[in-house]
Amino acid sequence: MILFWGLAIVLIGSAVWVVAAKKPVHSVVGLLLHFAALAILYLSLSAEFLAVVQIIVYSGAILVLFLFVIALLSSGVAPFSMGPNRMPKAAVPAAILALIALGLFVYGVSRGVPAHPVPIAAAAPVGPVGAPGVFGSVADFGRALFTANLLPFEITAFILMVAVVGVVLLAGDAAPYVPSRKRARRAEREMREAALRGGDTQ
């Protein structure tokens, strides 16, 4: 119980940090803290596989991707140049709106959720983390994923493939394919000049 409240404070604090930090790099650090705390909370919920996935995928892959992009974009002439705020008056109403929604949500949920619901099926006992045969163990999860839920699993594979294709299309080499080397050089020069002209207007 102390674990839960401690983690809750860390989670909310790091989340606020993510949103409020001036520099994106600081946001990434806040997010890292957030994900780590979440992984511990998952462990306390007997979701050991997802706790590990949380660390590997989020902290290991997605955050590194964020860092890459920040590094890539910061290497330009003027990193993160910001124009004038087009919605200066939106901040307060938006925050109020979010708070109202939050309040309503918590109020509504608190009326409907039982504190300790009765388990639908106590198929496996809850036990120490890492032991086979208890609820949420990797073995159980794997069996559930590859038998009854095989279709969703295959769909995740498809989603990832589509994402890879999309990323290559969007962020891949911007220079069009040109067979001749001479024309490739010319196209490259033209693109560089165009980019410089574009930079001048900033």
């Binding site: 087009r86 939106a90 109403p93 709106l97 979010a98 309503l104 509504g108």
Partner: protein
């Protein structure tokens, strides 16, 4: 209640017969550029294989068990009363044999005829598709399947008449044929509506077992069916498309517009004999229309100079005979005339195709003449065909035409009997006129026929020609059958033909007419010989042959006006249907369309613009503004559930 015609069972050959041509059509269509001229061999092979499969199914088609006759294969059920299947009984067997057998010969012939055409693969794709459609028509065990085939053969006919689509006349002819055929399709559809609403089934077996339920609507059903048959089989007044359809390649005319498709009406009437037998009025109507068509077609045949149009009118006239036969109740005789006609008319068309081919696409008989020496093979084949169609004893047409004419008398239609005999004489006259003008005397044309295939010199002056036997062998085989096909009718009630159809058609126990069959034959023969004699006197005497050019020119100049205008059928259709339709279109185009339709459309556009301008102000392009709107919406939902219901 489910009456199946034919013995239910598993007949894989039925599917082979039915689907092979479709396979060939798809292959020719999909791989046309790769196949090139091989498409001809492929297309012919599928039809040939289909023919062999038909022969192998003979036993299944003629078996009978439990009062049912033939082979029946269930395809699928759509809803109660809508069972689709294939039925091969003696009647459809006859048609399938002719479609695939004569079809195969014509396909082989076409390889030679279309040899120099660049679109030969497309041609064979269409031809195979036609055969598939025709088989769908005759193999269906229900009216809807028949109608599907009915429509598809019309489509195939449209494709093939307009095959040379660079010719405006071909395109116009294709369109005309299609439109008139669709009139028939719609009529059959109405017949099916009535039958289904009264009987609750579309299958032949159910409908024929419950003809009495049609009650007073029986005549209407017969009428609708016959309108369909008349449109497809070129019966008066829906015949005007057939002569125009000669714009298609000659093998098409032979296969579709002589041997098979145009006889679909005969098939329909023969197939639905329980309906006609229950409605004497409808029988009278069909018989009369058939007789009229036979007579009018023959008279119009006199007035033509285009060799294919002469044959087209003769086709119309001969189908008139068949319709007259089946309409008056002489089913076996009418169907027999279809059988022999398929051979001798295909023979005549393919023979004329050889002439047209050799003369470089010349079709006017006035510019032919003297071809007996130049094209002896065509001469002999055409002679067989002309003798057969004229009804000379020993040739097939004699037997079947006699059977039809005598059948008129047996079933108590003396007037139709007289019409039949008169038409036989006119037929002999105009066919021998064609024959004499084409083959006797001196050559009057301009094409150089000294070298074979001179009209189709390929690049570099070298004649591009298929081996001659490709065209000659099918014509030869047809000539043989045009001679002997009628022998199955020898023996009257005990003939192979009668025994073949013994269980298909109602038994005929008719009083012996005043005039016996022998006397009928003699009368018909005398009339036919008179026709030939007049033709001889006008076109084949020494004096006539010597002055042929001037005499023919004078004859075409003095042609009576009704004949020149083809009895004004086209004009009547123009004034009765086309002009009013155009007028209606004009009225709608001038007033209704701009005011009502366009007005509504314009008003819609204007109000959409106004609404769009209103909504556009919200499209700021600012991503965060959109997010705020979305969150606001979500907050509204949350508020609803939190305050009104709570989470259930």
């Amino acid at each position: 209640m489910h009456h199946v015609m034919g013995v239910d069972g598993y007949y894989p050959l039925l599917y082979v017969i039915w689907l092979l041509p479709l396979l060939g059509a798809v292959a020719c269509w999909a791989f046309g550029p790769q196949l090139k001229r091989t498409a001809g061999a492929l297309g012919s092979a599928t039809i040939g294989a289909s023919f062999v499969a038909t022969l192998l199914s003979w036993g299944a088609a003629t078996q009978s068990a439990g009062g049912a006759l033939g082979a029946h294969a269930h395809l699928f059920s759509w809803m109660p009363g809508w069972n689709f299947g294939l039925l091969l009984d003696p009647l459809s067997l006859l048609w399938v044999l002719v479609i695939t057998g004569v079809g195969f010969l014509i396909h082989v012939y076409s390889i030679g005829y279309m040899y120099t055409d660049r679109a030969i693969a497309r041609f064979f794709a269409y031809m195979n598709f036609f055969v598939f459609a025709m088989l769908t028509l005759v193999l269906s065990d229900n009216f809807v399947g028949l109608l599907v085939g009915w429509g598809l053969v019309g489509l195939a006919s449209y494709f093939l008449i307009g095959f040379w689509f660079h010719k405006p006349s071909a395109v116009a002819a294709a369109r005309k044929a299609f439109v008139i055929n669709v009139v028939g399709d719609v009529a059959i559809m109405f017949a099916i509506f009535i039958m289904f609403s009264r009987i609750g089934s579309i299958s032949f077996g159910d409908v024929f077992a419950h003809v009495d339920r049609l009650g007073s609507l029986l005549f209407l059903v017969c009428l609708c069916l016959f309108v369909g048959a008349a449109a497809k089989s070129a019966q008066i007044p829906l015949h005007t498309w057939l002569p125009d359809a000669m714009e298609g390649p000659t093998p098409v005319s032979a296969l579709i517009h002589a041997a098979t498709m145009v006889t679909a009406g005969v098939y329909l009437v023969a197939r639905c004999w329980p309906l006609w037998n229950a409605s004497p009025d409808a029988q009278m109507l069909v018989g009369t229309i058939g007789g009229l068509t036979a007579l009018v077609g023959a008279i119009l045949g006199i007035s033509q100079w285009d060799i294919k149009r002469i044959l087209a009118y003769s086709t119309m006239s001969q189908i008139g005979y068949m319709i007259m036969g089946v309409g008056a109740g002489a089913y076996a005789a009418g169907v027999a005339h279809f059988f022999t006609h398929a051979f001798f008319k295909a023979l005549l068309f393919l023979g004329s195709g050889i002439i047209i081919h050799e003369l470089g696409d010349e079709q006017d008989v006035r510019r032919m003449g003297g071809l007996m020496k130049k094209l002896p093979f065509a001469f002999w084949c055409m002679l067989v065909g002309v003798l057969a169609i004229s009804g000379i004893p020993g040739f097939s047409g004699f037997f079947s035409k006699d059977a039809v004419i005598y059948g008129m008398l047996q079933h108590g239609h003396p007037w139709l009997y007289a019409v039949g005999i008169l038409t036989a004489g006119i037929t002999a006259y105009y066919m021998f006129r064609l024959f004499f003008v084409t083959f006797l005397g001196e050559y009057r044309g301009t094409a150089d026929t000294s070298a074979p295939g001179a009209g189709h010199a390929g690049p570099g002056g070298r004649p591009a020609h298929a081996p001659g036997w490709l065209m000659a062998v099918p014509v030869g085989i047809l000539a043989v059958f045009a001679t002997i096909a009628g022998y199955v009718l020898i023996g009257g009630g005990a003939s192979p033909w009668s025994r073949f159809f013994a269980q298909t058609f109602p038994p005929e126990s008719l009083p012996r007419p005043v005039i016996g069959e022998g006397l009928t034959t003699v009368i018909a023969l005398v009339v036919v010989l008179c026709g030939i004699g007049i033709a001889y006197l006008r076109y084949a005497t020494k004096e006539a042959l010597a002055n042929a050019p001037t005499r023919l020119a004078r004859e075409s100049a003095r042609m009576p006006a009704p004949l020149v205008h083809l009895f004004y059928f086209d004009d009547a259709i123009e004034w009765l249907f086309v002009r009013p339709a155009q007028l209606l279109g004009e009225i709608f185009g001038r007033f209704f369309d701009p005011r009502v339709i366009d007005g509504a459309v314009q008003e819609t556009a204007v109000s959409s613009q106004w609404l769009g301008a209103l909504v556009r102000s919200a499209q700021t392009g600012l991503l965060r503004a959109y997010v705020v709107i979305v969150v606001f919406g979500a907050a509204c939902f949350i508020a609803y559930y939190a305050l009104a219901g709570g989470v259930r």
